[in-house]
Symmetry: C2
């Protein structure tokens, strides 16, 4: 089974836990049976593997999220990096070309496209086997998975179906597909028995590459990667699903939820609080997620969500939490927490000429060999042990080691055990983009 | 005019802005006409000076608060440090002995005792002149200031008065004084026309020292300081006011408020928010005080107070905010922010072997010459310029200076301009008490 997981979105609706570089699908908020926490992305990959242990899973995402995907999902998934964020149609085309080239998929092999973050029962993923079989049979060009709608939402696509004679009884013929209708039209579609589109699509690789060929001269992976901007910036739903005449649909009847806002997320939390939190007895329907080390005390509140991270703090009545996006967008702020290929960092303090950052470097991981042109750096090892390279020299560094790295001096660090390092950046202007990377000689 | 300001209390009711070392009276939350902010202590001193420019003001407080008093009130007030916290009776006795010795007060000179934090109009302090005149005349041993009660509180003392023939018409004779009655008794006292005790007392210095002599052999300041534990741990209200037969009372009729809980404080805030805060339009009656650098976003809330500091975050319905004390007391936490004689510090990060602290050292101020026995320290200058002494050597230090201070090495820092310094403490066990101070040789 070939599954493409679409991992997009900056997720401002779950601010301050999600931000430009940390999307909602990577928040470890869901408790497993063994009391550890997993993210939506981890949950989905685990569920797919429980259905198909050898599934060939590829995550398509932007450069910004590559480290998060690698850190959370490890090497059991492939990552197809989009050269720019351009919507789901180009992302799916690129992923198809990637699978064809890197995984030797034939044009007749079936791909199943799925969002990286549906909150659903395992049965949702069990349906992938049926989708694959229907798509492989060629009875429809594109096979969808529908879900019974609960209200006339303007956010989803709607699928109107009818029975399909002489076919697998699970599959119905799609007679109408309408992406994001207005409320009135959605009401009318629901009356006709329409289903919501779950965002899961199954089709043969050749099908999507043929459609791509209308826009580009070549559908080879390298060509598409280098000419990505030639693919139109449009969603797969508008570009493909709304146009296709020969579509089938199967229905998923289990639990399904779009856990994209604080109030929907709160409903799925296994406990009311996460982190250092004290909830007074007079609180009702209060959920608190605290990623900070300092405590949060909540008293006398009803139906309120509180979430705190290095980026900020939100306190919102639950229903109102669905509408925070414009406020978050109006706040211009630096990202204070970021996952990196070697671990993570958190900004602790900013002043006129200095920025203090706590680095966590995972055992066995290393930074690239790099230098900065407009800032000096100082590293102090707070915990763990590693190898620090300064210029041509490498030395072992343990707790208390102080290393001064003047601008222009090439440096790197490799953790032998998990390391905690204080990095102090000093200079007139400190910027993420002031970095030049080198290969070790 | 001799005024003793009683500065006590750990102020858990205003957590997380107040804590063991930072009492509510030092929170700069009150906007002045020039748009700067002042604390309750600063406001009271300013108001007393506006009535009596040359008032001799002495703050009596514990060692923990000495730096905060000095930083906020400067050298225009004296500080009488209590050797231990023992309640208001011993504190007032010690202050009387202090004034007698250090300020050459005679036994007939009048002292006015006042809490450091009444939120009142200037007229409240204008009454001090009248109190002084009454106390000096000797017509009563102890003269109080009463306030019209608004509800049968169990927190205050109650004063029942009657007219006093042939005396100043402003002064009434006290026929009953009852400290902290139960609600039923308070209701009864209010029906009798009782006033609340404002906590302001006027008396001759000899009066209180005579009472003290019942408990101790000597009422000399140095003796009392060294034998402070011999004075009973009791409030002035119980020890003196409830016992005294000859008391007068004047009434204050202006605005007065005990700004000791979040809901009462919120009412006096000149703007709904302080600090980095975004309040959505759908909030009503919401007050937010944010001392952190990260933003707070509030949405869809009604009658809620939010306050955030380096110590923690509270989110409380306003009425419920009066009852947070037991929850705060149940949270065992390190103080993350502290005012010092040389400025202030804030804990930024704690890990197994290291604590990272940001120091602000005020221009012209210096740390004591000291060393630690069980930890190394590293200083990195982030901003400003100063002189750093390590062992016998002193050098100029500017931005980017890195100083390593192994355990046992004596060191100090003096700021030439305002300095920001990152201090990293490294050791098996890092403790506030691991410090030995020395005189410069």
């Amino acid at each position: 089974m070939n599954v493409i997981l679409l991992s997009g979105g900056s997720g401002k609706r779950l601010w301050p836990l999600s931000n430009e570089v940390r999307s909602k699908q990577f928040l470890k908020l869901f408790e497993r049976e063994d009391k550890t926490y997993e993210s939506m992305a981890q949950r989905v990959v685990r569920q797919i593997r429980s259905v198909s242990a050898n599934a060939n899973i590829t995550v398509t995402t932007g450069m910004q999220q590559k480290s998060a995907v690698r850190n959370q999902l490890g090497d059991v998934v492939d990552v197809c990096v989009e050269p720019a964020r351009r919507d789901t149609f180009p992302a799916i085309v690129l992923a198809a070309a990637y699978l064809k080239k890197k995984k030797d998929l034939s044009l007749d092999d079936v791909m199943i496209v799925c969002p990286v973050d549906p909150y659903a029962d395992d049965h949702y993923f069990k349906n992938f086997e049926l989708l694959e079989r229907v798509a492989a049979s060629g009875q429809s060009n594109l096979t969808l998975m529908g879900i019974s709608p609960t209200y006339p939402s303007e956010k989803y696509g709607y699928i109107v179906t009818q029975e399909w004679d002489n076919r697998d009884s699970y599959v119905r013929r799609v007679v109408e597909f309408k992406e994001k209708p207005g409320t009135k039209e959605a009401e009318c579609l629901i009356r006709k028995g329409a289903l919501w589109n779950s965002g899961v699509f199954a089709f043969r690789t050749g099908y999507i590459l043929d459609i791509a060929a209308k826009y580009v001269d070549d559908t080879d992976y390298m060509y598409l990667f280098e000419n990505y901007e030639k693919l139109p910036q449009i969603s797969f739903d508008y570009a493909v699903a709304e146009q296709e005449k020969n579509m089938g649909c199967i229905e998923y009847k289990g639990r399904w939820k779009d856990v994209g806002t604080w109030n929907t997320l709160a409903e799925e939390m296994s406990s009311d609080t996460l982190g250092n939190v004290r909830l007074a007895d007079n609180c009702k329907g209060v959920n608190v997620i605290n990623e900070l080390e300092i405590p949060i005390l909540a008293c006398g509140l009803e139906n309120v969500i509180i979430a705190a991270s290095a980026d900020g703090i939100i306190v919102s009545e639950k229903y109102a939490s669905s509408f925070i996006k414009p406020y978050v967008e109006s706040m211009d702020q630096r990202v204070m927490y970021k996952e990196k290929s070697w671990g993570e960092y958190r900004v602790l303090n900013e002043s006129r000429y200095a920025m203090s950052i706590r680095l966590h470097i995972r055992s066995g991981k290393a930074m690239s060999y790099h230098c900065h042109h407009n800032r000096d750096e100082i590293w102090i090892v707070l915990n763990g042990k590693g190898m620090i390279t300064i210029g041509e020299r490498t030395k072992v560094a343990g707790i208390g080691e102080v290393v001064v790295l003047p601008a222009g001096v090439r440096h790197s660090i490799e953790a032998v055990t998990d390391m905690e390092v204080m990095e102090i950046q000093l200079g007139e202007s400190v910027s993420d983009s002031d970095v030049e990377r080198f290969a070790f000689e």
